[in-house]
């Protein structure tokens, strides 16, 4: 059945393309109106996608405000203890790429992937990548597929929750890869029209324990540090996911706005050519009628 269909369709398709090629010089009214219709439909789609992401963006920004203290608090610890990675020991690096599954949002995901690619270009023997979101996986798998440790997907459909983040943190700690230092790569939200691809440092337990400034904090033993690092990783991932989600929605909003604008321009141009061709057809027909009448008399 399927085969019959394709064999029937193939000559028709070839015929259609030949017809289109013949008419390229002077497009007919019908083809123009068909294109006009399809562009109008695309514009409708991009416009409604913009509306949707605008609503999602408003929510993501509200959520981000609430999530910021988690990130700031967790970062403070690493700043105050002034951890320096142990130079003598062999470094085992980990990159956590915070993106999402969904596209059509400008260069949000590419920015994250590019930053990691830049860092990997110099040295990538002892480095692993944890991909959060399918998009970073799709970009990084081509060049550094062997370095990918794990991929988390189904992200971006709904706003990220703390449970999502803690599941990811749990998997990061449970992969069996004992990283000494790591970086969370994410998009930091700045305003509706701008975001900045940035990194947050994370460290493994032994590296933290060796830090000299750790005495700033009272009554720390390795058990407390272990528990704290688990929690801080979860909160950092939660915070970066929120930042990423907010940047993504704002970026999608701009991208869809631009797409609708471009579609609008295209519609204007197509309407113009459509009207012009219509006029030309009418004029030609009139000339034919008049000259025919003149020939009779």
């Amino acid at each position: 059945m399927m085969m019959q269909r394709t064999t029937l369709l193939l000559p028709m398709a070839i015929e259609a393309t030949m017809l289109a090629q013949q008419q390229r010089g002077m497009a007919t009214l019908k083809t123009i109106s068909m294109r006009l219709k399809s562009v109008k439909n695309i514009q409708k789609i991009t416009q409604s996608m913009k509306m949707v992401s605008a609503a999602k963006y408003a929510r993501a920004e509200r959520d981000l405000k609430a999530a910021r203290p988690y990130g700031i608090g967790a970062q403070q610890f690493f700043e105050k203890t002034e951890i320096v990675p142990d130079e003598k020991a062999e470094p085992k690096k980990l990159f956590i790429a915070v993106t999402s599954d969904r596209g059509l949002c400008g260069a949000v995901h590419t920015g994250v992937a590019r930053l990691i690619r830049g860092e990997m270009a110099t040295e990538h023997a002892n480095t692993k990548i944890f991909c959060v979101g399918d998009k970073s996986r799709a970009i990084l798998a081509r060049l550094y597929g062997k370095n990918i440790l794990m991929v988390a997907n189904e992200i971006g459909r709904l706003p990220p929750t703390f449970l999502d983040a803690s599941k990811i943190a749990h998997e990061v700690l449970n992969t069996g890869y004992e990283y000494t230092e790591g970086k969370i790569v994410y998009n930091k939200f700045r305003s509706v029209v701008s975001y900045q691809c940035s990194t947050l440092p994370i460290y493994g337990g032994p590296t933290v324990e060796k830090s000299e400034k750790l005495a700033t904090y009272d009554s720390l033993d390795s058990d407390v540090i272990k528990s704290y690092l688990e929690f801080s990783l979860a909160s950092l991932i939660f915070y970066t996911m929120k930042e990423g989600a907010c940047s993504e929605q704002s970026s999608r909003m701009t991208a869809m706005d631009n797409a609708s604008k471009n579609a609008g321009e295209m519609i204007d141009k197509l309407t113009l050519t459509f009207n012009r061709t219509r006029q030309a057809v009418i004029t030609r027909e009139l000339i034919e009628i008049i000259s025919g009448a003149a020939a009779l008399t």
């Binding site: 798998a141 597929g145 062997k146 990918i148 440790l149 794990m150 991929v151 988390a152 997907n153 189904e154 992200i155 459909r157 709904l158 929750t161 703390f162 449970l163 999502d164 803690s166 599941k167 990811i168 943190a169 749990h170 998997e171 700690l173 449970n174 992969t175 033993d221 058990d223 272990k226 528990s227 704290y228 688990e230 929690f231 990783l233 979860a234």
Partner: protein, 62 residues
């Protein structure tokens, strides 16, 4: 001194998540529906090895 959650063989994140879930379930009905949304998670994980998705050895509960 070992913590209770270490003794039970779970990490602090799991421990605090369980605590959070119990707290959410203990809320009043009108607040609980809203809080239940924060209890959901849809993330899926695929381990990778040698540039290919690898089968998971053991599914871990969070």
């Amino acid at each position: 001194m070992t913590n209770a959650w270490r003794a039970a063989g779970i990490t602090y994140i799991q421990y605090s998540n369980i605590a959070a879930r119990v707290l959410r379930e203990a809320l009043r009905t009108e607040l609980r529906t809203d809080a239940a949304k924060r209890n959901a998670s849809h993330v899926k994980f695929t381990p990778w090895a040698n540039g290919r998705p690898a089968p998971r050895q053991a599914q871990s509960e969070s």
